[in-house]
């Protein structure tokens, strides 16, 4: 290839231009002083804030709110958030943090604004006591986040499949079918015998998680870690009890083996392939999204077998890297206020963690049209104030993943219950040590 002088000049020019552009690209994109500012809110799943943003922006004309991550899963969201925090750049001005992951972020509180320094202390009465305490660091000196929702439990079911199987369809009668999990299994066996072409429940993991949080909440108030942060997977009777109940469910062949949150799980919703699913309050929005408008009025909500329990719920926090901390804190206070939580509940169903909001007729008397006008206010909100939280230790998420995977291996027929229990214990220990 012949080399011509012009090529050289062009190459030099190109390099110079690239260098210039790169430098220019580093320039700030901040608007001039006093101009409008943009607040970015990072969430996962459905928080139900769209109408609230509109209201907030109308009252604060200098603020524009952009939400990112809507509809995404926690598995996609949490690594991103951690990377942003580690890099000191990229996180939104307001970030949602799920209960199970909060412990890990609390271990490094320097990444977040201490909301106690910004007048949050006076808001304590706006939250259920345990929800408020969860947001505090171990020494109680820093408040990482303000609570959004809690996950009161119920059991959602498809009344059309129940009718097909010759079971009662009215929610009160259905609730009477299963005061305990053993009754739930007995009902499942009747359902299975009717050969409807659908399985009784979606898969074992969600149900296991529901049972373990319920039994742990009713017992010592911790599951995988005790309150001194010792790993107690193998010695906590609550975990073993939940495990055994789940194994009974699997042993009766009631699971559809649709791995939760997978594409198949979503398809199974659409095709009415299972009749019941353990249903924390936030799950109602998920069911509606997955099963789609065609299934409206076919789903209903009954009491959860056993007694109560809490699964999930989130917090809103402001990362230290935010350039608009004051404005972001104001927005967090608004979204977690009674009004904000009521608005979110009406939009997507997350159950308020604010006692005033729980008492508000807009929540307490509400019904859900998608779920055959089920009185969701009565079902979820009534029990919310007596919810018993479960303590989560430092590597909660990693440990939970190992135990749930062990449940799944039994569900898929890859392991016997005893082998899987050994896996769960060993892998949990390994994960906790990482």
């Amino acid at each position: 290839m012949g080399v011509f002088p012009r090529r050289h000049l062009a190459a030099v020019a190109l390099v110079a231009a690239t260098a210039l552009l790169t430098t220019a690209g580093c320039g700030g994109d901040e608007p001039a002083e006093g101009g409008p500012i943009t607040l970015t809110v990072d969430i996962f799943g459905q928080m139900g804030y769209q109408e609230l943003y509109k209201e907030y922006m109308a009252a604060h004309p200098n603020v524009k709110i952009v939400e990112r991550g809507t509809g995404g899963t926690l598995d996609e969201y949490s690594p991103k958030l951690t990377q942003w925090l580690a890099a000191g750049k990229g996180a939104g001005d307001v970030v949602a943090i799920e209960e199970g992951l909060l412990v890990e972020y609390k271990a490094n509180p320097q990444n977040f604004v201490n909301l106690l320094d910004h007048g949050a202390a006076e808001l304590k009465g706006n939250f259920l006591d345990w929800k408020w305490d969860q947001g505090l660091t171990a020494d109680g000196k820093q408040l990482i986040g303000l609570g959004t929702d809690v996950g009161g439990m119920a059991m959602c079911y498809r009344s059309d499949l129940f009718a097909k199987a010759g079971l009662p369809t009215q929610r009160d009668e259905v609730s009477k079918l299963w005061p305990t999990w053993q009754d739930y299994i007995a009902t499942g066996e009747k359902f299975k015998a009717a050969n409807t072409g659908a399985s009784f429940l979606d898969s074992a993991t969600n149900t296991f998680n529901t049972i373990v949080l319920q039994t742990a909440g009713n017992a010592q108030g911790y599951h995988y870690y005790d309150t001194a942060n010792n790993l107690v997977v193998d010695s906590n009777p609550a975990v073993r009890q939940a495990w055994d109940t789940t194994m009974d469910i699997l042993d009766s062949g009631l699971s559809g083996k649709y791995s939760s949150w997978s594409e198949e799980w979503v398809s199974a919703f659409k095709q009415a392939k299972f009749a019941t699913i353990a249903c924390p309050a936030w799950m109602t929005g998920v069911i509606e999204g997955n099963a789609g408008p065609a299934a409206k009025g076919k789903w209903d909500i009954a009491q959860v077998p056993g007694n109560g329990g809490n699964w999930g719920g989130s917090f809103l926090a402001v990362p230290k890297q935010s350039k608009h901390q004051a404005e972001a804190i104001e927005l967090v206070k608004f979204l977690t206020s009674a009004k904000g939580q009521i608005g979110a509940f009406k939009a997507k169903g997350p159950l308020p963690s604010n006692p005033q909001a729980l008492d508000d007729p807009a929540v307490a008397d509400s019904t859900n049209a998608y779920f055959s006008d089920a009185p969701v206010g009565k079902i979820f909100a009534a029990g919310a104030k007596s919810l018993k939280p479960v303590y989560m230790g430092p590597k909660n998420q990693a440990v939970r993943t190992e135990v749930e995977n062990a449940v799944r291996t039994v569900d898929l027929g890859q392991r016997s219950p005893e082998q899987a229990w050994a896996d769960a214990v060993n892998n949990a220990k390994k994960a906790a040590a990482k």
Partner: protein
């Protein structure tokens, strides 16, 4: 800046003592000696910033107990490496990676060779065919993986439906280790066979036609021509394709990651059926462990593995064909990224 364009050495000034001339002379000497380095500098600068520095930094991180969010990182020396070598999940992911690599690469390169020889014949609408084999490569990997993930579904997947039609029982493509390797290999091959076929085609066209003509006169069949002329002359290109496929195959991430949906897909199945090394690296460096040091150690061992496998490739291929230098044919430069 004055650029010395003439390759000949500058004429030494006849008259000494003129300071200006001396200065110009020195300048042009300097220019001649050092400006080539300037011209190649952009590559090395970029490589330094985006290649060498991250490599060295990853190594530094791998010597620490490095929690991604913590402010202090304790130096632990080789502990991450010794723990990793005793970690059965790591070896499991290594087996998966090599298994998927072999299942995908061997048929892929053979298929590409066959496709290239077909495309090298006189066909109608030749350019259209040649363009068409590249189409799978243009589609987004994530989209491909999602579509294949649905095709290979246990209960609602089309593959199992077809198997059912011919009387074969449903296969749980995600929960069976070997089946998941096959499914992921199918994805990889769908995407990369056409790409490699075009590379082989380009090299085939550089083979002189008269070789084939004289072979034909001597009575060699098409197949004989292919194995005795085409393949030996393609050897440098085959080495190139094998090495690039090796690097890509051992770094496989998107296909197996997107193949699994649901909770914690980074495990590649509940028993880590198809978790590759890069997925294991991600699982440790990011969610749910956030152990950056351990993840970095995985990255370095992966680097070592690729270097070893690439070396084996070259040695084996040279033994097979006695190729002395793989530089004779002009080879495409495009890097393969997954």
């Amino acid at each position: 800046m004055s650029v010395q364009l003439d390759a000949r050495p500058p004429v030494r000034p006849a008259v000494r003592g003129s300071a200006r001339q001396l200065w110009e002379y020195r300048l042009s000497r300097l220019d001649e000696k050092y400006s080539p380095y300037l011209y190649i500098a952009p590559f090395f600068l970029l490589f330094g910033v985006f290649g060498a520095y991250p490599l060295a930094y990853t190594f530094w991180v791998s010597l620490h107990d490095w929690d991604l969010l913590a402010t202090e990182h304790q130096f632990v020396g080789g502990e991450n490496y010794s723990r990793l070598l005793a970690d059965p999940d790591f070896w499991h992911s290594l087996t998966n990676t090599l298994g998927i690599f072999v299942i995908s690469t061997v048929p892929q390169l053979l298929g590409a060779l066959w496709l290239a020889s077909l495309l090298n014949r006189r066909l109608r609408a030749r350019t259209t065919w040649r363009m068409a084999v590249l189409v799978p490569n243009v589609t987004s990997t994530a989209a491909v993986a999602i579509v294949f993930g649905v095709l290979f579904g246990r209960q609602f997947g089309m593959i199992n439906w077809l198997l059912d039609l011919v009387g074969v029982g449903a296969i749980d493509w995600k929960a069976n280790r070997f089946a998941s390797w096959v499914a992921i290999s199918a994805m990889v091959d769908w995407r990369w066979t056409g790409y490699n076929a075009l590379i082989f085609l380009a090299a085939m066209q550089a083979i002189p036609r008269d070789l084939y003509e004289s072979a034909a006169i001597d009575g060699a069949s098409r197949a004989r021509q292919f194995w005795s002329i085409t393949v030996p002359l393609l050897k440098p290109t085959i080495i190139f394709a094998v090495i690039v496929s090796t690097i890509g195959g051992l770094q496989l991430f998107t296909e197996p990651r997107m193949f699994h949906s649901g909770t914690n897909p980074i495990r590649g199945g509940s028993l880590r059926e198809s978790q590759t090394m890069t997925m294991y690296m991600f699982e440790n460096a990011f969610a749910p462990h956030y152990n950056f040091g351990y993840g970095s150690a995985v990255a370095w061992l992966l680097f070592a593995l690729i270097a070893i496998v690439a070396a084996i490739n070259v040695v084996v291929l040279r033994r097979l064909g006695g190729v002395d230098r793989p530089t004779r044919t002009r080879r495409p430069r495009k890097e393969r990224s997954r």
